[in-house]
Symmetry: C2
Subunit: 223 residues, 2 copies
DNA sequence: CCAAAAATCAAACGTTTGATTAAAATAGAA
DNA sequence: TTCTATTTTAATCAAACGTTTGATTTTTGG
């Protein structure tokens, strides 16, 4: 059955990519773990890179759909008024912690999130560019809402703070498993970790501005 | 001159590791960029992995020394009273943005910081473990000071928030160059980026607790 | 100036890599 | 069944990998 083979490859690749990275995972590792022939990856996916894209898409697409669904919901309820920063952040982050439980496949549960964190930092520009494309609409929609939510901040500062948020998130995705396994005193339920992350990033985003915006007019201040 | 060769190798390796990662950088890439013989790396450093460790140590050791120096200074001035969270975060983050300018070598300036961000997420456990060792004292000292600075938070929450901070920092280190080059509207001076990061993480760390601590019954202060 | 040590060099080592091939096996429809 | 398209298989490919070698050049100290 072809669909079974493809799924086995996707599952094995997801976990191996997450644990060892793209470059440190060989086709032989993947096909051995999936218990399929070495040539199966090239037959079903074309290449190792295409397989990677397929793995990412399988996880990212439903993830971002859920993000947008939550954002739609918030904006409908708000009826034109700017959204509360915390609720905006919540809509963006919660889906990451939910797919973890909502995933149907057996073992791929935690691997995809780990992989997400890894792929934001460790990828070659070629592959990374293809990934960023999967986020375009999410980036567009959420940053628009964020600007409305925090109108007192200058655009440049907001961009950097958004980068800080994504950094916190992806770093956490990658290391959550390790921290939970190795630090008994850090035991928190996933929902609690999510809540800490939401509070942390929401407060961080809405911190007072320290520099006068100079993207417009600039009445004073050099730098 | 041997010291010259070693430095050339370190510089080239630093930049290539930062741009493409450890696995995606070959010995031939490094020695070609350094304009030395292929065997030179193994002769001077022993192996590719040892070269990587050497690259990291060259940057990390002075970095962490400066961090500890600033922490000493803060604690001396405070004379026993808990430090302000913002000042603590500032002492930890500022050195990252200072080595960028204080670096004497010609091109390695930005590469090391980029490499730091990358190596926190993309490394094989073997290599990563050796790296973490270089941070032991810094982790120990700063987390102790942080617990004193935020006594109302439960230990577990604090650990996770610290992880969020490190995530923001390393993610920023890796992507700062890309963002500055590709997003004109995100132009900020390094000092301004640093200040945004300090404000973001300080406010995030000191966000109110959402869950009652359950790690201990103690009415106040743990350690 | 000369021997000993240090450094550099071109060449080759064995292994692993992603990808391809042509044959074999399997499936579904007529 | 037979025919045909899909899938799996084992074998093989050239390229790239980190490392080692033995000879050669350069530097050092007496």
């Amino acid at each position: 059955m072809t669909t079974l083979t493809k799924t086995r490859i996707l599952d094995a690749a997801e976990q191996l990519f997450a644990d060892h990275g793209f470059s440190n995972t060989s086709m032989r590792d993947i096909t051995a773990a999936a218990e399929v022939n070495l040539a199966a990856v090239n037959y079903h996916f074309g290449s190792k890179e295409s397989l990677f894209i397929a793995v990412m898409e399988r996880g990212t697409i439903p993830l971002n759909q859920e993000r947008l669904r939550r954002l739609d919901e918030l904006e409908t309820n708000a009826g034109g008024t700017p959204l509360a920063t915390e609720e905006l952040v919540r809509a963006f982050l919660t889906p990451m912690f939910e797919v973890r439980n909502g995933w149907t496949e057996p073992r791929s549960k935690d691997s995809f999130l780990k992989l997400v964190g890894r792929s934001h930092t460790g990828l070659e520009p070629t592959l990374h560019a293809k990934l960023v494309g999967q986020y375009e609409e999410v980036i567009q929609r959420f940053s628009q809402a964020l600007v409305r939510s925090l109108p007192h901040l200058q655009p440049a500062g907001l961009i950097w703070r958004t980068l800080f948020l994504v950094g916190s998130m992806s770093f956490t995705m990658t290391w959550a498993g390790t921290v939970l396994n190795n630090r008994p005193q850090a035991q928190l339920a996933p929902q609690e970790i999510l809540e800490e992350l939401i509070q942390f990033t929401a407060k961080g985003l809405s911190a007072p501005a320290r520099f006068a915006g100079r993207t417009q007019a600039t009445p004073e201040v050099g730098q």
